[in-house]
């Protein structure tokens, strides 16, 4: 009998401890509403913490007690996927990175639509940035930035080579200028990523290319994509103005070191890359000038909207309205958008703030870059940004670009650019 009793006790102990693991949260009736926010980027957390402080000042009757948790990138996305799938354990608010976003739009979406908040301000926003986080007319994610692709020139090298960066209008001009740089300084004009997409994707987007069509069909082997990949191949091996990025991509330690050392003439990356310059390449302070990207065709676009993170409210929150209001305050309001620039150095998606005086007040970004008016440049190119298509197949397409196309065509040259694109497109079609 004793055995049965002991067993019973053990079972009860197990059962009783279950709610502890499930993290049962009780609804609080008074006091500030407790909310959890997950992000994969510690900088993003500072923005939300600052915003929460401002919110609490402005809304004494709707206080928030916000806990920001910074998780590793992959960890956050897989935990969230499981939490939303199983219906327990998700935070109230969470950052989802663009290339993962389609995973959370499958089936019955477990996120709260933000339409009522978004529709109030959409005319002042870069709408394409909201559309990438939407499905069936519902807006779910709120963006951090436009991610306008720009080109960063090392003015010291350009001056030494006698290149006038303002005279570079098309990629053809850029290649010519590159030849001059290589001839006079011996340094490559550019580095091309072979394990990530930030050299390739903005260029195809400039020409109206993309990985996917608006309906989600494969567009990897489009004419524009072929032209751009061939152009990059020529930059590396025919015109010899570029080299493969040390470490494979522009976030590698090897690259930061070499660029900081003044080994390369320029780099094209989205605006959010500014923070990498200030934090990882301190020796280039005052030497980097930002310009719009060269055009792919005469009269073509000079920028592209790249990358991003959509912040969402999950359907597991106990304070739906409050969470939505707070998120809209942090991401959609003018104040929030100013803070996106001052704390994060991102180009905020609400363009109506781009000419506010606060955007030109000195901060670590204006101090670092040789430009007088970074936002003037953004206003100039804001209508030259094509939307990007983010649908269910995007994670696969992006993976093929990163692991196969660029590596095969540009790095190891085991396939011609056209063959690499065609093969990847065939893989995509087989999977769709």
């Amino acid at each position: 009998m004793k055995i049965t009793k002991t067993l019973l006790l053990v079972c009860m102990a197990l059962l009783l401890s279950l709610p502890v693991f499930a993290g049962g949260e009780g609804e609080s009736t008074s006091g500030p509403a407790e909310m959890t926010l997950w992000t994969f980027q510690a900088l993003h957390a500072t923005l939300f913490e600052d915003a929460a402080a401002l919110w609490n000042e402005a809304n004494p009757d709707r206080q928030i007690d916000l806990t920001c948790e910074t998780l590793p990138y992959e960890d956050l996305h897989s935990k969230l996927l499981i939490a939303l799938q199983s219906g327990v354990g998700a935070p109230d608010i969470v950052d989802i990175e663009i290339s993962k976003f389609p995973n959370y739009l499958k089936g019955k979406v477990q996120l709260e639509p933000m339409n009522d908040k978004v529709e109030e301000v959409i005319d002042d926003m870069v709408a394409s940035r909201l559309e990438i986080y939407s499905k069936d007319g519902n807006y779910y994610g709120l963006p951090f930035h436009v991610g306008a692709a720009v080109i960063y020139y090392n003015t010291e090298i350009m001056d030494a080579a006698g290149v006038d960066i303002d005279a570079i209008d098309t990629w053809a001009d850029y290649v010519e200028a590159g030849k001059q740089v290589v001839a006079r300084t011996g340094k490559p004009m550019a580095t091309l990523e072979v394990t990530d997409q930030w050299s390739f994707w903005p260029m195809i987007s400039q020409g109206g290319g993309d990985y996917l069509g608006p309906d989600g069909s494969t567009a990897l082997d489009s004419k524009v994509n072929n032209e751009v990949l061939q152009l990059q191949y020529d930059m590396l091996y025919t015109d010899k103005i570029a080299v493969k990025t040390p470490g494979g991509n522009h976030h590698a330690e090897e690259y930061y070191g070499a660029m900081n050392n003044g080994d390369f003439g320029s780099i094209w990356m989205p605006m959010w890359y500014m923070g990498r310059f200030t934090d990882y390449m301190p020796d280039l302070k005052g030497k980097i000038a930002i310009r719009p990207m060269p055009r792919l065709t005469p009269g073509g676009n000079r920028s592209a909207g790249m990358g991003g993170t959509g912040t969402v409210v999950t359907n597991q929150t106990k304070h739906v309205e409050l969470a939505k209001d707070f998120l809209a305050f942090a991401k959609l309001s003018e104040k929030g958008n100013e803070m996106i620039w001052t704390t994060l150095g991102f180009d905020p998606p609400r363009w109506s703030v781009w000419d506010n005086p606060v955007m030109n007040q000195p901060n670590k970004y204006t101090d670092y870059f040789a430009n007088d008016d970074i936002f003037g440049l953004l206003l100039e190119v804001k209508d030259e940004i094509n939307p990007v298509n983010i649908t269910e197949s995007f994670p696969l397409a992006s993976e093929l670009v990163k692991t196969q196309i660029l590596y095969q065509a540009l790095s190891e040259r085991t396939k011609t650019p056209a063959k690499a694109l065609a093969d990847a497109a065939a893989t995509m079609r087989a999977n769709q």
Partner: protein, 296 residues
């Protein structure tokens, strides 16, 4: 009296109960639900059975490459991680070795280091820059700096093997040392009287008597090799060029979590289970594990 016997009959069940219960909760339940999930398309709120579609989708060159990588890795790690630790263990066990206690600890330390830390350090040691440690070293021998991480398939496998060798040698030495200590010393004494050399003693006495340990280490190496994930994940952050570092578990992770296709991930997991069982049955068969009355 009768009730006492009854109690005694119950006792064994009681003692194995914790194991049985944990087996059911931790292994059997997930296994069964993986089987079910592998026939489903799993999306929140709209999960449905889709027959064998997940299995048909496994006819994917990327998956074949992952299997290839895992199998090559397993074969190579076994061919390194049996002989090398065995020789080291024999050396450490020999009375004539100096500082054997010290070296035992030294060999074991790597297995205490988190693979994340080790992988990150390996990544930096083998970085692409000409100033990276390994590239500086090989420059002394007039070898061109190599693009280790983003080079060819051979580069990728080489890095994985280095990491495995560094990490697992110590553990396998412990297994072999414990095996060596069970070998009666009289056998060596007899061999000495017969005038056998050290190498002869190793081949004729040590190796055959270590057979149970070799079988055990091979079995866990097959499991470990085929389920390897962390090393490759840390070195390439999940994206290795041309999938040169992709393993089967890496593929599960990619499909299940990175592409959000848990059903397909489950199907891959079951295929992995079948592969692991297959390899282990083969190796146990060849080592005579299934022979009647075989002593292993």
């Amino acid at each position: 009296m009768k009730s006492l016997t009854k109690k005694q009959n119950l006792a064994p069940y009681f003692f194995v109960a914790p194991f049985i219960i944990s087996l059911f909760i931790i292994y059997l339940y997930p296994l069964i639900s993986t089987v079910i999930m592998s026939f489903q398309e799993i999306v929140p709120g709209e999960t449905e059975f889709i027959g064998t579609k997940n299995y048909r989708r496994l006819a994917d060159p990327t998956f074949f490459k992952a299997i290839q990588n895992s199998v090559i890795y397993t074969v190579l790690t076994i061919s390194l991680l049996i002989p090398v630790p065995m020789i080291f263990a024999a050396m450490l066990d020999s009375k004539s070795s100096i500082g054997s206690r010290f070296f035992r600890s030294v060999f074991f330390v790597p297995s205490l280091v988190s693979v994340v830390v080790a992988g990150t350090i390996v990544r930096l040691i083998f970085a692409q820059a000409d100033t990276a440690l390994i590239n500086t070293l090989i420059a002394q021998f007039n070898i061109e700096p190599q693009n280790w991480l983003h080079g060819t398939r051979i580069h990728a496998m080489f890095l994985l093997l280095i990491l495995a060798l560094w990490r697992w040698t110590g553990i396998n030495i412990i297994y072999f040392l414990s095996g060596l200590q069970t070998i009666p010393k009289e056998l060596y004494e007899a061999a000495d009287i017969d005038g056998a050399s050290t190498i002869q003693k190793f081949v004729v006495i040590t190796m055959p008597l270590l057979k149970p340990i070799i079988v055990f280490v091979t079995t866990i190496s097959i499991l470990g090799g085929l389920s390897m994930f962390e090393e490759s994940y840390i070195l390439w952050e999940g994206i290795s060029p041309d999938n040169n570092g992709l393993t089967i578990v890496g593929y599960i992770y990619r499909k299940g979590f990175q592409h959000g296709e848990l059903g397909l991930g489950s199907a891959v997991g079951l295929v992995l289970l079948i592969i692991v069982v297959f390899f282990n049955v083969i190796q146990l068969f060849f080592r005579g594990f299934f022979k009647k009355g075989a002593e292993v």
